[in-house]
Structure formats: C-alpha cells, structure tokens
C-alpha cells in the first residue's frame, strides 16, 4: 500500500520559557503540541478544532516546517521532513502551502496583488518571466478575482477578496497539501460561505489535501469528512464527521458541541443537553497530570489524575478517543 500523503507521528513542540532573573534560564516549557499523530490522504481533508491556545496553529506551522518540531515525525509522501534542512525542504515548499487566518495582516501592503501571487514563481523559477503575468492572471481568475486587478494593492480589497488573494498565492505552486489556518474566521458569514465554496471547488479540481484548522465547528463539519479535536496540545478525539457530531465520545467534544448556539433548537425548542464547562483552559506550561481535561470534566475519577488515557478505538466505528470513561 502506498504511503499516505501526510503522516504525523508523535509530533511535539515545546517552547522554552525563560526566567526573569538577571541571567535568563529556561524554567519550563510551553507544551504547545505534545504528541500529536494523524494522517491525511491525498485529496482529503482533516479538520482540526479546539479552543484558543490548544496548539492548532503551531501544528500547522510545524507541518509546513515554518517551525522545527522538538521531536516526532512528519512523513510527507513517506519522507520524514521533521528535522530536514533547507536543501531538502525547498522542493517540498512547493508541495505544502499555508493559508493564514488574518487576511488583513498576512499580505504585504506594499506589494501588488500580482507580485504577491507571482512571488513563489519567481523564487522557485518555475515559469519563464514572460509567462508569469499570464499565469498569475489565470490564478486570479481561478479564485474569482478580476485578472485586471493584477496591479492593485491589498488595501483596495475587502476581507473576503484578500482571503482569495491568499488562496491564489497558496495555489501558485499547485501544492498537494494546503494547511488552512482559520481561513474564514475573520470574515462575515455571507463571505465565509463564498470562500469555503471556493476552497471546496479547488480541492476537487486540483485534488488538494487540506489540513483545515478552525474553531467554528459547523464549518469544519461542512468541509471535512474527518475531524480531530485538540485539547491542550493533544488530540482527544478523532472521528468521521457524522460519528463525531452525532455521537461524540470524549466529554470535551460533547461540551464543545453543546456550547455552539443552535438556531433550530433555540427557536423551536427541543431536547438539548446543555453542558457548561467551568473555568479556563489550564496553562500549557503545567498541564494537569493524567488526563489533561480532568480539571474541567464532570466525569473525572481518581484514575484520571494518575493515568493518561491513550487515544484508542471507542465503539464500533472508526472513532478514537482519549478518555477513561468515553460516552457509548
């Protein structure tokens, strides 16, 4: 069997925390990503959801190798790129691209749209200079922008249009994997839908695999057949979308889903179990022992404080969850 497009094994990223003394010493680590494993098949999408600070963006940055992981493996088409140097990475940068959350700050305000979208072509010397303009205009057209706007600057565009520019830039090199870090969070609902549809069309057309990072659970459900839920640097549940949304196994997933406001139930009434998590997410510097969710979990028992639950199969489907007392 061929290797999956992307396989991540035990990915770890610890950021050192410096002391405040005269001589700064490392006094601890922010365990931003702490043993994360998953696979993404070619042309497929994996959703990554979780609360702010749980390590989603860091995971994305590690996979695109904007940062070097502390340990673990990142197998891209079978090749481990976790610790690879610039020479190995350069050709791979064409294959793995990233779309950023903030359409307002992720584009250089002093470059024209043409320069932004065409930059990767220049860097990788893929297309002769004479054909660059044509290629960039083609890309602008693909993402639904007017190719004539080649010479305009980002500030002349609305948020949704800027995000399209960001997507066009990511598409320039025809990547096999796109890491989309909250690509629509900063946009209005009506515009969100435009951008999501665009990404879905592109995915089908060019067979691009997505690692789709978001905190909006309903959009992830729409976009990703498989969803992983992160909590404090770890994946606590991973399941096919229907399984996850209909029968969440991990208490955290359940709480997360129940916190999403639901128009139908609010307006029409109906049975709805409300789960309210208390307090804040604990610090990733000193995560709780055993199960990291136990401090906010209503099911926690003694064992949760002593033993870390492994990510294992729960129920009949493909659902895996890391919990001593999963929902059945």
């Amino acid at each position: 069997m061929a290797a999956p497009l992307l396989e991540v094994r035990d990915l770890v990223m610890h950021f050192p925390v410096k002391s405040r003394g005269v001589i700064a010493r490392t006094v601890g680590h922010v365990k931003a990503v702490d043993g994360v494993s998953f696979t993404v098949e070619a042309g497929q999408s994996l959703g990554l959801v979780g609360e702010s600070g749980c390590g989603k963006t860091t995971t994305g940055r590690l996979i695109t190798r904007l940062q070097k992981p502390t340990s673990g493996q990142i197998l891209f088409e079978g090749q481990d790129i976790a610790q690879a140097g610039p020479r190995v990475l350069k050709p791979l940068r064409r294959e793995i691209q990233m779309i950023f959350q903030d359409p307002y700050t992720s584009l250089n305000p002093r470059q024209t749209v043409g320069e932004i979208v065409g930059a990767p072509l220049v860097i990788h010397k893929l297309v002769p200079a004479s054909q660059r303009l044509a290629r960039v205009q083609e890309l602008l057209e693909v993402v639904g922008l007017n190719p004539e706007h080649y010479n305009r600057y980002p500030h002349e565009f609305s948020g949704g249009q800027r995000q399209r520019i960001g997507i066009a830039r990511a598409l320039t090199l025809q990547p096999k994997l796109l890491v989309a870090d909250e690509p629509v969070s900063a946009l209005d609902v009506s515009i969100q839908a435009q951008v999501i549809n665009l990404m879905q069309d592109l995915q089908r057309e060019f067979n691009i695999a997505f690692l789709f990072i978001a905190h909006d659970l309903s959009i992830v459900r729409h976009f990703c057949p498989e969803v992983a839920v992160m909590y404090l640097g770890k994946i606590v549940e991973k399941a096919p979308r229907d399984e996850l949304y209909e029968h969440p196994k991990h208490p955290y997933t359940k709480a997360l889903l129940s916190a999403v406001p639901n128009i139908e139930q609010a307006v029409l009434g109906g049975r709805r179990e409300r789960i309210r998590l208390q307090g804040d997410v604990p610090s990733p510097i000193n995560p709780p022992s055993g199960c990291r969710f136990r401090t906010r979990c209503w099911k926690a028992q003694d064992i949760c404080a002593t033993t870390e639950p492994p990510l294992q199969k729960v129920g009949a489907g493909a659902d895996v969850a890391a919990c001593h007392f999963p929902e059945q």
Binding site: R20, G21, V22, I23, A24
Partner: protein
C-alpha cells in the same frame, strides 16, 4: 524589576565595551598616530622616539588592553614605563596621572582628554539640558493642545507653524536670533556663557536662553507633531471609548487615560533624542561662539588630535547607551506589561 534593571545595565556595559573596541580599531587602523603627534617637521628619529614614548610601538591588542585598564582604574602618562621612570626622577611635573575613567592623553593639548572634556562639557550640557526642558515642555504642551483641538484653527496654526520651524536650518535660526533679537532689537543681552560660579543661576540662565532656544526649536517642532500623533492615536484606542462609556469627565478621560498611554512612547524617544542633542550642539555653539564640546571636536579634528576625538566619540556613545538604559528602566516602570515579562 531590579533583576530587569541589572540585566539592562550588564547588557549596556557589554555594548559600551564593544563600542570602545570598534572606535579604537577604526581610529588606529587609519595610520600611525605618532605621525600626527610628530608634527610638520618630523624627522625619522623624532618619529621613532614619539612612537616609543607614547607606546604606539606596542601591538594594538596591548594598547587596547591598556586603554581599557585606563578606563577602569586610570593610568599614568607617558605610557612607556622606562621613559616615565626616568622622567619621574628628572622632571616629575611632566608625569601626568589620569584618573579612571581615563579616556586618554592629548599630546597636542598636553592634557588628559578627561581634562579637555571637563573643560568644555559644562557649556554643552547646560545648553542641552536647558534646550531639553524647553523642547519637552513646549513641544508636549502644544502637541496636546493640537490633538485636543484637532481640525480646529488652533490645531491648524500649530501644525502650520511647526512645519515651517521644522524646515528652518538650525544655523539660520541661530543667526537670526543672534543678529536680530540680541544685536538689532536688543531684547536680550548679547549671549555669552556665564558659569553659575561667575554669574549666579540668573546670569547662567540668561546666557543660555538664545542658544538653548536655537537648539530646542527644531526638536520642539518635531515634538509638537509627534505628541499630537501619539495623543490622537491614544484617544482613538478602544479603552478611551470604555473610559467615556463609564461616564468619566472629558478631563479625566484625556489626562488620566489618554495622556498616560501617549506619553510613554514619547519618553523613550525623548531620552534618545537628548543624547543626540549633545552631538547636535555643535552648530549652535559655533553660531554663538560658545566654548562647548562642539568646539572641542572641531579643534581636535583640525589638529588631528586622535585621543581627544576617541574620547569624544566614547563619551557621546556612552551618553546614548546610558540614556537607552535609563529609558528602558523608566519604561518598565510605567508599563506593567514590560515590567512583568
């Protein structure tokens, strides 16, 4: 907080040392300094002697080491041990002790660089401090006014005037003040430097007014605009809206919430500009013919008096670095986010 201050000071010392090294190497790499000391009628024998007496025959590393040692604990001149020992017996007056921090010895002036600088510095520092007070007071005052009355005629006038003043060369402003205000209209006595010892505080201040004003005007104009921009930016912050929404009076909103945030970045700029001001005093001093560090620099340059030039550069650099440290520490004091990091 204290740990932070200590760390900043340690970093400052390292910076200072590296700066001294760079200056030293730059100046000494530019040829045999003995040549300039030796003068016009230099014979090879004289050159050799000078080179030896002043220690220029030593490897540059040794010279640098001794220079640093001088900075730390002071040293005696001439540097050649044997020669100095002989001199001590024959003519002890010619042996000069240069106390720490010893910046060197100027053969040309036959005095330590410290003594040279100490002679000229009071004038410059007086002008600079006076100018600093002028410029901060009026700059910030008019800047805040302009921001509060944004778009009104007062704002427009202030902005217009500062634009003109900003564009005027210091040289021109100084000459104008001297020729018209002092000489033609005689609104103030002809400016000369009077030390406090000679003329008392009053005389000292009167003597400083015109040069300080000359020096301050440019910065004042700049600070009106900078203050205005900072205050406007601060007043458009979300927390100002919150302060208004609480029902605080406009006065409290402006002075307590608005200015605090606006003046903090100003603090760091002012600190650095003050250090630069010391250097900027050169033109002013020459216009008014005051005997300040600017003049010393000009003279030293004319005479190719390397030790004095090195000393001046080090003093100027030290001023910048020290102001930097001061500003950082003050900043940490004002902004809790820096303090707790």
């Amino acid at each position: 907080m204290i740990a932070y201050a200590i760390r900043r000071i340690l970093v400052g010392i390292v910076l200072l040392l590296s700066m001294v090294l760079v200056v030293f190497v730059l100046f000494f790499a530019s040829g045999n300094p003995a040549k300039s000391v030796c003068g016009k009628f230099c014979t090879p024998e004289k050159l050799t002697q000078v080179t030896k007496v002043y220690g220029y025959d030593q490897p540059i590393t040794t010279q640098f080491g001794e220079f640093i040692q001088g900075l730390a604990v002071g040293r005696d001149y001439p540097v050649n041990d044997a020669y100095r020992a002989a001199l001590e017996k024959s003519n002890p007056d010619l042996v000069i002790h240069c106390a720490a921090p010893c910046l060197g010895y100027s053969q040309h002036d036959a005095a330590t660089v410290n003594a040279d600088i100490a002679k000229y510095a009071p004038v410059t520092i007086s002008i600079a401090v006076f100018a600093f007070i002028f410029w901060i007071f009026f700059g910030v005052f008019f800047g805040v006014l302009a921001a509060v009355f944004k778009g009104k005629w007062l704002d427009r006038i202030l902005v217009g005037v500062t634009l003109v003043v900003y564009a005027l060369p210091t040289f021109f402003v100084g000459t104008f003040l001297l020729q018209y205000v002092a000489i033609k209209w005689q609104l103030v006595p002809y400016p000369t430097y009077v030390s406090i010892a000679d003329g008392g505080v009053g005389g000292w201040l009167v003597g400083l007014t015109l040069p300080a004003l000359t020096l301050a005007l440019f910065y004042m104009a700049a600070y009106v605009r900078i203050t205005r921009a900072f205050v406007l930016e601060s007043l458009s912050e979300d927390y100002i809206r919150t302060a208004r929404a609480k029902g605080l009076t406009e006065r409290v909103v402006l002075f307590k919430h608005g200015l605090r945030a606006a003046l903090t970045p100003l603090l760091s700029m002012a600190g650095l500009d003050f250090a630069a001001l010391l250097a900027g005093a050169v033109i002013t001093e020459s216009v008014f013919n005051y005997q300040g560090l600017g003049l010393l620099a000009v003279i030293a340059n004319q005479n190719s008096d390397l030790p004095v030039l090195i000393g001046l550069v080090i003093v100027a650099g030290a001023a910048v670095i020290i102001m930097n440290i001061l500003v950082d520490i003050l900043y940490a004091f004002v902004d809790p986010r820096v303090r707790l990091r």
